[in-house]
C-alpha cells in the first residue's frame, strides 16, 4: 500500500514537470504543421515531421549569421570580462588601501543601477565617441562587446573579489621571492585557483549576454550584425500571422540553449546558485 502510494507520487510529480514544459511542447508540435493542420488542432501531434518550415525560417531569420554573431559577441565579451575582472579583483584585494576600497565600492554599488537609467545617456556618449573621436562604437559587434564588458564588470569583480580574499597569500609571496613578476604570479599561480569563480562568471554571463535584447537593439542597426534575439524580434515583427514558420523559428532559437544546458547542466546549476548567493 505504502509502495503504490510512493509510485503515484513519483509519477504525479513527473507529470507536473512535463506539464510545466508544455509550452515548449506546443511550439515543437506546431513547428511541423501546415496551416490547415495548425488551425485544426494546436495541441495534437503533427501528422508527419516536415522540416520545410525550419528551412524557411532559417533563411528568413538569416539564422546562421545570427548564430555566429551571437557566438562571437558572447565568447569575446566573456573572455575579456574574465581576464580583466579577475586581474582587477586580485589587485584590489592585495593592495589594500583607500583607493582600492573606493574602486571596489563603486563597482558593487553600481550593480544597483538598472539598464533603463543608463541607456539613453550611454547612447549619447557612444554617439559622441563615434562622431568626435571616430571610434566606431555604434552598429559594430566590437562596440557591443565593449559595452557588455562595462556592464558585466561589477558583478564579475564582486565575485572574484570575494574568492581572492579566501586564498592564502603565502604561495604568492614565495613565487615573488623566486623572481616571478606580478604578471607571472597572477597567471601561473592565482588564476588557476580561481577556477570555480571563473566557471560561475562564465555561466552567468552566457545566460545574460546570449539572451540580451535591449542593449543590442540600440547598438546594432545593420541586418548582417543581428544577434539571435534581434533577428527573432524582427522576424516576429514581420511574420506574426504565419505561426507555423514562427514556431519553427522559435525552436531554432531554443535548440542551442537546450544543447548548452544538457552539456553543462551541472556547472550551470552550480554557477547560478553560487552567483545568487552573493
Amino acid at each position: 500500500m505504502k509502495k503504490t502510494g510512493k509510485w503515484v507520487g513519483e509519477i504525479l510529480f513527473l507529470a507536473v514537470c512535463a506539464l510545466y514544459l508544455f509550452p515548449i511542447f506546443i511550439v515543437f508540435v506546431n513547428s511541423f504543421k501546415n496551416r490547415a493542420e495548425l488551425y485544426e488542432s494546436m495541441v495534437a501531434l503533427p501528422k508527419k515531421f516536415d522540416f520545410k518550415y525550419y528551412i524557411q525560417a532559417m533563411t528568413k531569420m538569416n539564422f546562421l549569421k545570427a548564430l555566429s554573431n551571437s557566438l562571437i559577441v558572447t565568447i569575446i565579451s566573456i573572455l575579456i570580462i574574465v581576464v580583466l575582472a579577475s586581474m582587477t579583483a586580485w589587485m584590489l584585494v592585495r593592495v589594500d588601501n583607500k583607493i582600492s576600497k573606493v574602486i571596489f565600492m563603486v563597482f558593487v554599488a553600481t550593480m544597483l543601477i538598472p539598464f533603463q537609467t543608463l541607456m539613453m545617456p550611454l547612447m549619447q556618449v557612444m554617439g559622441w565617441a563615434r562622431d568626435t573621436l571616430h571610434i566606431p562604437m555604434l552598429n559594430t559587434l566590437g562596440g557591443l562587446i565593449y559595452m557588455n564588458v562595462g556592464f558585466g564588470a561589477g558583478m564579475a569583480v564582486f565575485l572574484y573579489h570575494g574568492f581572492v580574499k579566501s586564498i592564502p597569500i603565502a604561495l604568492e609571496e614565495a613565487a615573488t621571492i623566486d623572481g616571478c613578476t606580478k604578471f607571472g604570479v597572477f597567471w601561473r599561480i592565482v588564476f588557476p585557483m580561481l577556477k570555480p569563480v571563473t566557471a560561475t562568471v562564465i555561466i552567468l554571463d552566457v545566460i545574460w549576454i546570449w539572451n540580451d535584447y535591449l542593449l543590442p537593439s540600440m547598438v546594432i542597426s545593420d541586418k548582417a550584425l543581428r544577434t539571435i534575439p534581434l533577428s527573432t524580434a524582427s522576424f516576429f515583427g514581420q511574420f506574426t500571422i504565419q505561426w507555423n514558420m514562427a514556431m519553427a523559428g522559435l525552436m531554432l532559437t531554443i535548440i542551442p540553449v537546450i544543447i548548452f544546458y544538457l552539456c553543462a547542466q551541472k556547472y550551470i546549476i552550480k554557477g547560478v546558485a553560487a552567483g545568487a548567493v552573493k
Partner: protein, 291 residues
C-alpha cells in the same frame, strides 16, 4: 624604485577595466542625472532647456506614468508571491527522497535559460491563438479566449509567464538553502514527534531565512525591472494597459522623444530599485537565525 614599479603594476591590472567601466556605466549615470533637469527632444542640434525639477514635478501629475507605476507594483507583488511559493514548493519536493528528483530539477529549471524575449513569443502564441482555438473547440469561452486583448487578463498572463520563467531559478536557490540544513536537526525534530508541517514551519523555514533574503531580493528586482517578456508578450497592450515601468521609460524617451522627461523617470526608477533592494536586505538580514 620598487614603489614606482608597484604602482605601474597596479595601473596595468586595474586601469583597463576601470576605464571601460567608467565610460559605460559611470559617465552615462552622471550625465543621465544632468539630462533629467532639461527639456530636450533628443535632436542634437536642438537646444536643451534647463527646467530644474519641473520634470520630477510633472511625474506626480502624469496619469499615464502613475498607472504604469501602479501596475508595475501590482504585477511585482503577485509575481513575487507566485514565484516564491512555486519555487519553494518545487525545492521541497526536489530535495525529498523521490527517484525522479534529478530529472525534475533539470526540467523545472529549463525555462530560465531561454531568454525572456523568446519565452514571451512562445506564450503569446499560447494566450492568443491556442487559447482562442481551444475556446472554439471546447466551448469553454469563459477561460479560453484571447487573453492578450483583455487588459486584466493580459496582466495575469504577464504574471504567469514571469512566474513560469523564474520559479525554476528561485527553486535552485531554495534547494541550496534546504540542503544546508544539517540532517541531525530534522532527525531530532522527528524523534521529538514533530509532524511534517511543524518541521517545515518551525525548523526548516527559520533555517533557510538567508535563502528567503536572496530570493525576495532577486524576484523583487527582476520583476520590477521586467522588460523583455513584457515587450514580446503584450508590447504594453491592449491600449498601454500592461506597460510596465521599464517599458514606459523606453517609450517616453525613444517613441515620444521626451528625452529629458524620460530620463527623469529613469532616475526615479533607479531610486526606487535602490531603496527596495537596500530595505529588503537590511530587514531580512535581521531575521536570520545564527546557527
Amino acid at each position: 624604485m620598487k614603489k614606482k614599479a608597484n604602482i605601474a603594476w597596479y595601473l596595468l591590472f586595474v586601469l583597463p577595466l576601470v576605464l571601460i567601466f567608467t565610460t559605460v556605466v559611470i559617465i552615462p549615470f552622471i550625465i543621465g542625472i544632468g539630462y533629467s533637469f532639461f527639456e530636450w527632444d533628443g535632436m542634437r542640434l536642438n537646444e536643451k532647456i534647463f527646467i530644474g525639477f519641473d520634470n520630477f514635478a510633472k511625474l506626480l501629475t502624469d496619469a499615464n506614468f502613475l498607472t504604469s507605476a501602479g501596475k508595475t507594483i501590482l504585477f511585482t507583488l503577485f509575481a513575487i508571491v507566485a514565484i516564491n511559493i512555486l519555487g519553494l514548493a518545487f525545492a521541497l519536493i526536489v530535495t525529498s527522497k523521490l527517484k525522479v528528483r534529478n530529472v525534475a530539477r533539470t526540467m523545472l529549471f529549463m525555462p530560465y535559460l531561454i531568454g525572456g524575449l523568446i519565452l514571451g513569443y512562445v506564450w503569446k502564441f499560447i494566450f492568443s491563438d491556442v487559447f482562442s482555438s481551444l475556446g472554439e473547440s471546447t466551448g469553454i469561452t469563459g477561460v479560453f479566449f484571447n487573453w492578450l486583448l483583455n487588459s486584466k487578463f493580459a496582466l495575469v498572463a504577464l504574471i504567469i509567464v514571469a512566474t513560469w520563467q523564474m520559479a525554476g531559478y528561485i527553486m535552485i536557490i531554495y534547494i541550496t538553502g534546504i540542503q544546508g540544513i544539517p540532517e541531525e536537526v530534522t532527525e531530532a525534530a522527528k524523534v521529538d514527534g514533530a509532524g511534517f508541517w511543524q518541521t517545515l514551519l518551525k525548523i526548516k523555514f527559520p533555517l533557510i531565512m538567508p535563502s528567503f533574503t536572496i530570493c525576495l531580493f532577486l524576484t523583487v528586482s527582476n520583476c520590477f525591472k521586467i522588460y523583455d517578456v513584457n515587450l514580446a508578450l503584450t508590447a504594453g497592450g491592449p491600449a498601454r494597459s500592461t506597460e510596465m515601468f521599464a517599458m514606459n521609460i523606453y517609450n517616453e524617451i525613444f517613441s515620444l522623444s521626451n528625452y529629458g522627461y524620460g530620463q527623469a523617470k529613469a532616475i526615479v526608477f533607479f531610486i526606487v530599485v535602490a531603496i527596495i533592494t537596500l530595505i529588503q536586505v537590511s530587514i531580512t538580514k535581521k531575521k536570520e537565525v545564527v546557527m
